[in-house]
Every structure is written in structure tokens, then in C-alpha cells.
């Protein structure tokens, strides 16, 4: 337990080269957190001058390696720490998935061991100079979430993007997640409503596969006074590309889902830049 404050200091030092930190949360599993995190990373990395880091702290179900086309990659150690695995020159990834030798290996760890891994990821990975660090989290409100917030407490997190689907069963968990963020004083950048409607590829008519029986994210956001960053419709090409480990934006640049993503990414960048200018004003005043 004595080790923790020391680790927090070390992590704060390490994070000095990281400009913006964004957590992608949900509360509800399977709403598209990892898909979103990966595409947020791809979208931001399209600007070659921006350095992006994607950290997957889902210890039990690390999906990021697959979605980023990095399955089977291993992590290398150097004098300055662990090297992330690079998808592009400006997009580095770290996940427990890279530490497993087989796709069948299960990570059956209790809380303290998971926390230890998260601490290592934050302290020992040599990210270098990074503009955006995106942290993909597992579903729920447990050890991993408490740990990442605690370890990054003094390093300043820009905020959290919370993913939901339109159904009440998701919103139910997402309300809890929003309350968690408020409890731990984590700023909320906004909510993304994923799987929001489906356009049939044949007849082009829309169906609501996951009906928003209680008003969807829009009503929840109004009630809880958090921004709705956007709605991403279901597109079968998203799943296909994630399975292949490719960026969906390349395969379907004109899809309504791509357009929705781009708008959301822009809003996130605006939030982070606004934050940065506020900070700089504070320092200079």
C-alpha cells in the first residue's frame, strides 16, 4: 500500500510527455468501447503530425490487438521501458493481449494483480511524446476503473467519453458510470450513442434493432446535463473491419457511421484544445 503514492509520482513524471488523456468508459459491456477507442485513435492519427497512443486496460478481455490488426505481436523491452506496438509511425498500442502467448490464454487475475498491470502500463511503457493517450477500459465500475483514475489523478485526465447503445438496459449502466465519474471528479467530455439505427444495405430503409424505449441517450443526456457527442448507426462493415483489424474509415469513407465518427472526433478535439488553452491561461495569469 505504501508503494502507491510513489507509483503515482512516477506515473505523473512519465505522463509529462503526454498532452491529452482520454478515458473511454461505459459501465455496460458490448456497446462498442473498444471499437470506438480504436477508431478514435485511427481518426486522430490521420494527421501525421499528431502522435497517438492507445492503451487497452481490459485485462480479462483485451480486444484492441485484434481490432488494430496486431494479434500475435509481442512487446519488447528496452532501457527506457516497454515499447508500444506501432500500427503506424504515429500510432502506438499497448495491451495485455501482447503479453499472452496464445489466443486461448485466459487472464484469470484478481483485483490486486490487475491493478499492478495497469500501474506498469502507465509507468513502464515508453510512449515518448504523445498528443493523445486514449485509454480503453473494460465494462463495469471496478478495480480497473478505480486504479486508472487513481494512478492518473495527479497527471490530469482531460475527460471521459462514455459509450452507450439506445436501450434502457445500457442506459441503466451508463447512468451509474456517469455518477462514478462525478464521484471521482472525472470530467465528462460527453456521451456517444452507438448502434443507433440500422440501414438495410438492400432496401435502404431504417430499422431500430435496439429501440430507444426510454428516450435513448438524448433524453438521458438532457436529464443528467452531459453533452451528447453524437450517434453512430450500425454498419455491418464496422464489425467486418474490426474482425480484419482494419480501419473502418478506409473501407467505408462515405458511410453515415464514418461521418458520425468524424464529427464526434472533432468535438473531442475541440474539448481537449479548449481545456489546454484554459490551462495555459491559468499558468500565464
Amino acid at each position: 500500500m505504501e508503494e502507491v503514492p510513489h507509483a503515482i509520482e512516477e506515473i505523473k513524471e512519465k505522463m509529462k510527455t503526454v498532452k491529452h488523456k482520454i478515458l473511454v468508459l461505459s459501465g455496460k459491456g458490448g456497446v462498442g468501447k473498444s471499437t470506438f477507442s480504436a477508431h478514435l485513435a485511427h481518426g486522430l492519427a490521420e494527421d501525421e503530425n499528431t502522435q497517438i497512443a492507445l492503451l487497452d486496460i481490459d485485462i480479462c478481455g483485451p480486444s484492441i490487438p485484434k481490432i488494430m490488426g496486431l494479434e500475435g505481436e509481442q512487446v519488447h523491452q528496452s532501457g527506457s521501458g516497454w515499447s508500444p506496438v506501432y500500427v503506424e509511425d504515429n500510432l502506438g498500442v499497448m495491451s495485455v493481449g501482447f503479453l499472452l502467448s496464445s489466443p486461448d490464454d485466459a487472464v484469470i487475475w484478481r483485483g490486486p494483480k490487475k491493478n499492478g498491470m495497469i500501474k506498469q502500463f502507465l509507468r513502464d511503457v515508453d510512449w515518448g511524446e504523445v498528443d493523445y493517450l486514449i485509454v480503453d477500459t473494460p465494462p463495469g465500475t471496478s478495480d480497473e476503473h478505480l486504479s486508472v483514475v487513481r494512478y492518473l489523478a495527479t497527471a490530469h485526465i482531460d475527460g471521459a467519453v462514455i459509450i452507450t447503445t439506445p436501450q434502457e438496459v445500457s442506459l441503466q449502466d451508463v447512468r451509474k458510470e456517469i455518477n462514478f465519474c462525478r464521484k471521482v471528479k472525472l470530467p465528462i467530455i460527453g456521451v456517444v450513442e452507438n448502434m443507433s439505427g440500422f440501414i438495410c444495405p438492400k432496401c435502404k430503409k431504417e430499422s431500430q434493432i435496439f429501440p430507444p424505449t426510454t428516450g435513448g441517450a438524448e433524453l438521458m443526456c438532457q436529464d443528467l446535463e452531459v453533452p451528447l457527442l453524437g450517434r453512430v448507426p450500425l454498419d455491418p462493415l464496422i464489425g467486418k473491419n474490426c474482425d480484419k483489424g482494419q480501419s473502418f474509415f478506409i473501407d467505408a469513407p462515405d458511410s453515415p457511421a464514418t461521418l458520425a465518427y468524424r464529427s464526434i472526433i472533432q468535438r473531442i478535439q475541440e474539448f481537449c484544445n479548449l481545456h489546454q488553452s484554459k490551462e495555459e491561461n491559468l499558468i500565464s495569469s
Binding site: G27, K28, G29, G30, V31, S34, I59, C60, G61, S63, K66, P103, D104, D105, A106, V107, I108, W109, R110, G111, P112, K114, P138, P139, G140, T141, S142, D143, H145, L146, Q167, E168, V169, Q172, D173, R175, K176, E177, N179, F180, K183, F198, C200, P201, K202, C203, K205, S207, Q208, I209, F210, P211, T213, T214, L234, P236, G239, K240, C242, D243
Partner: protein, 271 residues
């Protein structure tokens, strides 16, 4: 370490089935709920134990949100969902004072609650207890399996969607089951395609084939594919009985077939 099961609240439960995944959001709670309803319609007495402490979905799915939980002399009385008392439910959802309050607990506290849930609910006589679990392979899962082990569960139903990211997590879950000595009764592939209600074109919204391939690879039975069905989604949101209300719906045939396979795989009990 107990050598044999104490006669206790699980003594009257004939068969215990765990519903697992590894991957979140694949429909564990949905499958748990529908399996329980289908078994009940087949004339069985069923209980559902929802040990997802962070995201207890089942009370809402069965229209039982906000119901109060009472203590009796043998422990907690489960919430009965019907007059005949043929289907009952216990969930941490019933214990939350404010439904929007997050249960932000670390492992040891969760383990303690799960142990209590498993041993202190006065289920009475049940043919089946369906245990819904949260996603992952961590504290809660180990605690649940350890607490249930003395009662020799029938096995685990493992749920996936067709996509590779799900299958990837479910492979790990199968390893987990093997390591914990839990028999895998079979794999259910959920969200297996969507038939457009306007033109009847079937689209593989979440890719295709993963569940069946995995079952073959892992040498476990493939119990069936459940399609995406907005009628099912709606009934779950509204807390109604899908099996009763939508017998013509796409998901109905798959769900009742899966329930039948469970019934067929259940060993006959000594009277």
C-alpha cells in the same frame, strides 16, 4: 474448505446452470432470462441468480424493478415473478437504494457478497437455477464457481456473438472453464444476423459464423444461433415474457430449441 455440500438453501435445487461469456454485451442476461422463461414454459420450476454486481440487468428484463427483498428465517426470500411461484429471481439490483448508484467495489467485497448470494437465498425446491454472470474472468467468476462447486453445477452455457472480437474473449472463457473444472454444456451464438422487416434481406450485422466455428474448434456442443430480433429487445426493455408473447418471432424458435437441448442434456434425477 467444505468437503461436501451443507444441506442449506441450495439443497432443494436440482440443477445449476451458469451463463458465462468473457465478452461483455453479447446477451448473457438476455439468454439467461429467456432460457429461464422457456424452461418454465416447459413446466419446470426455475430460479435466476443475477451476480452481475456492477450491471444487474435482470430485474428490468422481467418487469421486477423496484421490488423489495425480504428476509425470512432461512435467509433472503427470492422475488417471485408469478402467482404460481414457478419463477423466482435474486439480484443485487434489488438491494440498491438508488438504481443510478454505481457499485464501485474492489474484488474482496464483491466476493463476499457473491458468497452470501449463493448461500443465503432461500430458493426452496427448484428444477433449475440459472446463474447470470458479469463479463470477464476475474474475482466474481472465481467466487461464483467456488461457492457453487459443492453443489455440482450441471455446467456452463457460453454466449458469444459471431464476431472475432467476441470469439477471441470466449476462447479465453473456455480456458477459464477448463481451469476451474466447470463443464461447458455448449456455445450459444447470439445476435446472429438481422432480417430487415421491410424487405426480408438478412444482414450479418456483427459478422458471421464465429460461434459455430469456435464450438467445432473447442470440441464443445453448438447449441444454436439466436438472431437479432427487435421484438425480443422491446420485450426485455418492457419486462414482459417474450416466450409467451411472441411465438412467431425470429428469436423464439432458436431460444426454445436451446432450452430443449438443455432439458435433453439434463440427467434424470433419482426420485
Amino acid at each position: 474448505m467444505e468437503a461436501a455440500a451443507e444441506p442449506g438453501n441450495l439443497a432443494g435445487v436440482r440443477h445449476i446452470i451458469l451463463v458465462l461469456s468473457g465478452k461483455g454485451g453479447v446477451g448473457r442476461s438476455t439468454i439467461s432470462t429467456e432460457l429461464a422463461l422457456a424452461l418454465r414454459h416447459a413446466g419446470k420450476k426455475v430460479g435466476i441468480l443475477d451476480v452481475d454486481l456492477c450491471g444487474p440487468s435482470i430485474p428490468r428484463m422481467l418487469g421486477a424493478q423496484g421490488r423489495a427483498v425480504h428476509q425470512c428465517d432461512r435467509g433472503w426470500a427470492p422475488v417471485f415473478l408469478d402467482r404460481e411461484q414457478s419463477i423466482s429471481l435474486m439480484s443485487v439490483g434489488f438491494l440498491l437504494e438508488k438504481p443510478d448508484e454505481a457499485v464501485v467495489w474492489r474484488g474482496p467485497k464483491k466476493n463476499a457478497l457473491i458468497k452470501q448470494f449463493v448461500s443465503d437465498v432461500a430458493w426452496g425446491e427448484l428444477d433449475y437455477l440459472v446463474v447470470d454472470t458479469p463479463p470477464g474472468t476475474s474475482d466474481e467468476h472465481m467466487a461464483t464457481i467456488e461457492a457453487l462447486r459443492p453443489y455440482q453445477p450441471l455446467g456452463a452455457l457460453v454466449v458469444t456473438t459471431p464476431q472475432a472480437v467476441s470469439v477471441g474473449d470466449v476462447r479465453r472463457e473456455l480456458t477459464f472453464c477448463r481451469k476451474m473444472g466447470l463443464r461447458v454444456m455448449g456455445i450459444v451464438e447470439n445476435m446472429s444476423g438481422f432480417t430487415c422487416p421491410h424487405c426480408t434481406e438478412c444482414t450479418s450485422v456483427f459478422s458471421r459464423g464465429g460461434g459455430e466455428e469456435l464450438a467445432q474448434l473447442a470440441g464443445v456442443p453448438f447449441l444454436g444461433s439466436v438472431p437479432l430480433d427487435p421484438a425480443l429487445m422491446r420485450t426485455l426493455e418492457e419486462g414482459h415474457d417474450f416466450i409467451q408473447e411472441f411465438p412467431g418471432s425470429p428469436a423464439f424458435a432458436a431460444l426454445t430449441s436451446i432450452a430443449q437441448k438443455i432439458l435433453d442434456a439434463t440427467p434424470a434425477c433419482l426420485p
